[in-house]
């Protein structure tokens, strides 16, 4: 395997505090998530992650108990970003349609970022039984919130009536997929992509 692109890493940089530990822990996650996204979880060895951080594998075990732990932490960070977007929208008094749009754009934006896209690039078979269960609960939570917003919109007349569950999957699919195809070095900004996809979903494709 060729030389690895070295990361800006707290090891090797001198700093001060006790909370260094957190920054190092975070650095492991930042590097791991990047490599997981780029090469796949199984295909990324912890030796490789360590090497990218200019450190040896046992150092990583000083911050995490095992590989599953690292992946799950990445997934949780990604999910948390999406959930915070829900939070913002839940106390709003706007129509379902408006809340849906705001949430969907924020959701789409996280899919352009490493932790966000990690949640859909890694399939949950790779997790331990315990983590998988937790992860699925988080996913279900998000899906239910999305579906609830859609149902609100259907009730208040701002959205077309229909099968809210299926509609939620349609939206989630289009949005999640961003994490599969979008690379930041392309011609479109994350904002443009998020806005564009959501606008496609809201207004549809058919001319009238």
């Amino acid at each position: 395997m060729a030389t690895i692109a070295k990361i800006d890493s707290p090891w090797g940089s001198q700093s001060d505090r006790e909370a260094k530990r957190n920054s190092k822990r975070q650095a492991v996650l930042d590097t791991a998530v990047r490599l997981f996204n780029a090469k796949g979880f199984q295909a990324t060895s912890l030796d490789y992650v360590a090497q990218a951080l200019s450190v040896t594998k046992p150092t990583i075990y000083h911050y995490f108990s095992n590989k599953d732990d690292i992946l799950f932490e990445c997934l949780r960070l990604g999910m948390r970003q999406i959930q915070s977007a829900i939070g913002e929208v839940q106390q709003s008094a706007a129509t379902g349609r408006d809340r849906l749009e705001v949430f969907a754009v924020a959701y789409a934006l996280t899919m352009t970022q490493e932790f966000g896209m990690c949640t859909i690039r890694t399939s949950d078979d790779q997790l331990s039984a315990k983590s998988r269960k937790e992860f699925r609960a988080l996913k279900r939570e998000i899906h239910e919130s999305l579906q609830a917003i859609i149902e609100d919109g259907m009730k208040d007349g701002s959205l077309i009536e229909g099968d809210a569950r299926l509609t939620a999957f349609t939206m989630a699919g289009a949005i999640n997929w961003i994490g599969r195809w979008y690379r930041p070095d392309q011609s479109m900004s994350p904002d443009q992509v998020a806005q564009g996809v959501v606008s496609n979903l809201m207004t549809g494709l058919v001319a009238r």
Copy 2:
């Protein structure tokens, strides 16, 4: 590892012809794709696939040269299904909108089947460099066809003007995602799902 659910397998069933070989080869693919989809490619060992077929691993190597070969064959079968849907629609003289709808429904349907969903459940990092290149070419081909149909529709006025590339990704995302969440044992039939998702995409969500 617990006992494996045994498959209806040409080994153990007596039959006649020389074309048995093809049927056995196909049985390997059928079983492999099912297990790949269920547990992930890397997490599925060939020993496990063999066991599910009541056979030993070297037998599989009698039909395929390596694991990559098997996966790639699965992917190709899935892609072929989607491509044949394109074929049907390309010689049609209907509007872009109508052709898009027909194609999208057929595409969505393949995502409810093992080989179809395999194309999106397995991320292409797992392939050898050579297979990955071929697979990406197939994906690009499909994406370009989809985009071309959308462009036709935008030109003939049957679809709303917009960024056809982004629209193609929006559609592909919602459709591909079916392969991630849909399980045939659920309340909706494949047809209902395909029709429902495509209708969501075509008409959008916003009431007017």
